[in-house]
Symmetry: C2
Subunit: 335 residues, 2 copies
């Protein structure tokens, strides 16, 4: 059995910088035609120069492979219309982090008074720049996303022309909100389609599956699977693949993040085939994102075959999801 | 400020065996007059000979310190009246584990058809041997204890003379059940009074706080605190202190268990003082257990003073709760 995916897209990707960038960027470029690259470097990506420089470093790390890094800015309420007009051609979206919520987000937004954000969001709305949001409060870890839903709703109502992407949604509540507001969209990760908190902490503790937002309840996973498997037009694949060196994951104070980019397409094919919806994977990993963002990614065909894929124990010093396990699909070639 | 505790008791303690036993037993003996020692060794403690031999090994490990190890048997539905009559004088309780639920419980009970357990439980009831239960199902990790409550209720109704101790309760549901049935009692750990899932996985992942039952929600902790702080006569302190070598905790596949025995009394004094209920600690750490179990522990006065206690980074190769932190109380002497 084989599957040909046209221009698969990863609409939420962490590539980091320097050595880590050089390790992981080629792995994403092997599977995907393009990816939306998160701006939470240290310091965060907040200027046209930083965007262009980071894009260049990504392209250098990728090398000859055909791969488009769609760039993002780290949201700041200081961005004005003039600044945004100038940077618009170089970015695809702006990413908003509530302060301190996840890796390298200390510098994020801590004021969800809409009026404080309004000038920037109005400018983005006028300029057609989508807003990507890490939607979690500082509440109890299992409730953070659900508690953030009212903020999504206020943003969606107040800025009806602004495309708002609820990033890496993990809950039934987020799925429900998605369909209530025309201008809300969502990315869903591989790992949140696969795991629940049980996989992280139900048996022995598995740090390589520890991520933010944390994996939730079985009924939440079911809600995510439902919209992903039907390739609901408002959802798209975003891996949130987040590499950390092994020694940062396998120690007390383990950092949050699952490194899934190199196994994502094979694992998605397996999951969608098991669900009997393999024909919907093309939309979930590419067409929906093209429609939502209005993009035409580089042409790239990825051919997967249903043959065992033994996932390496690590890529460099980064341990991938499914390390050492065997997936049922593998990438045979990229054309 | 000082606090004198008379014969403090730890009514749920893992002492392990061999080197680990020799590391941790003296630490419990320094703080406590006696402890109920769990039987989940490999193989589990299931005969009079094993009980007596384990007790001897504990006493050797403790040395000269005054300390009574109250012994338990690992529940088996094969135990009959004759066997139980013979072993009764050597044990204080029998501990029931659902199969595979926690460390070394693979050998536990997997059939909660009450009738399958009835002959043994009837014999225990007649002989006045309390039943200690690790009450979790195999369900979703946050629901396991709440899902087990109906089993507690069936047991409590069917065997009204049997004292049933809900071990290391973690939920509001368990607290509610406790007061509904006359013959249900509970132990509460130090760590479940202190932490929620947020402390384990809300920020960076903290394997040394990873335990089973997993720490729950803020409202659950509040329910536990309520009954502990009032020294509700049906609850007693049981640390569930569970030592694992550092390399088993600080690696993928981290084992469940918090090592709290050497810091328990100081941390409890701090918590009870902060809550303004220091005068209730005596009941929570000793008197209630004496009444519930009908025991008279060795006389031992532990004097605590409100002075900084810098918790060591480790005891042997076991990392304690609050490692490297400073508690507000310390044990000044034992008389």
């Amino acid at each position: 059995m084989e599957l040909r995916l046209q221009s698969p897209l990863d609409m939420h990707l962490h590539l980091r910088d320097k050595d880590m960038l050089r390790t992981v960027a080629p792995l994403s470029a092997k599977s995907f035609a393009a990816a939306l690259v998160m701006p939470n470097l240290v310091p965060p990506v907040t200027s046209k120069e930083m965007v262009l420089s980071y894009k260049r470093r990504i392209q250098e790390a990728v090398g000859q492979e055909k791969f488009e890094p769609y760039m993002t800015l780290f949201f700041r309420s200081e961005y004005d219309y003039a600044f945004l007009s100038e940077v618009k051609e170089d970015i695809l979206a702006i990413k908003l982090y509530p302060a301190g919520i996840t890796t390298n987000s200390e510098d994020g937004v801590d004021n969800f008074s809409i009026e404080a954000l309004a000038p920037t969001l109005e400018a983005m709305s006028e300029l057609g720049i989508p807003l990507c949001v890490h939607g979690e409060t500082n509440g109890f870890v299992m409730d953070r996303e659900a508690e953030f839903i009212p903020i999504y709703e206020r943003l969606a109502k107040r800025f009806p022309q602004l495309k708002i992407i609820m990033e890496h949604i993990t809950t039934k509540e987020a799925v429900d909100a998605l369909v209530r507001y025309e201008n809300l969209y969502a990315t869903i990760t591989l790992h949140h389609l696969y795991i629940t908190l049980d996989d992280v902490a139900g048996g022995l503790l598995r740090p390589h599956l520890f991520c933010k937002p944390i994996a939730k309840r079985p009924e939440d996973r079911m809600a995510l699977r439902k919209v992903a498997f039907m390739a609901h037009p408002k959802v798209m694949f975003g891996s949130d693949s987040a590499p950390h060196p092994r020694d940062k994951k396998e120690a007390p104070g383990c950092a949050a993040g699952v490194f899934s980019a190199p196994v994502a397409l094979a694992a998605l094919a397996q999951l969608f085939e098991e669900a009997g919806v393999l024909e919907n994977l093309q939309k979930f990993v590419s067409d929906n994102a093209q429609n939502i963002y209005g993009i035409t990614p580089p042409k790239k065909e990825v051919k997967l075959v249903k043959e065992p894929f033994r996932v390496p124990p690590s890529y460099g010093d980064v341990v991938p999801m499914f390390a050492g396990e065997t997936l049922e699909w593998r990438i045979e070639g990229v054309f």
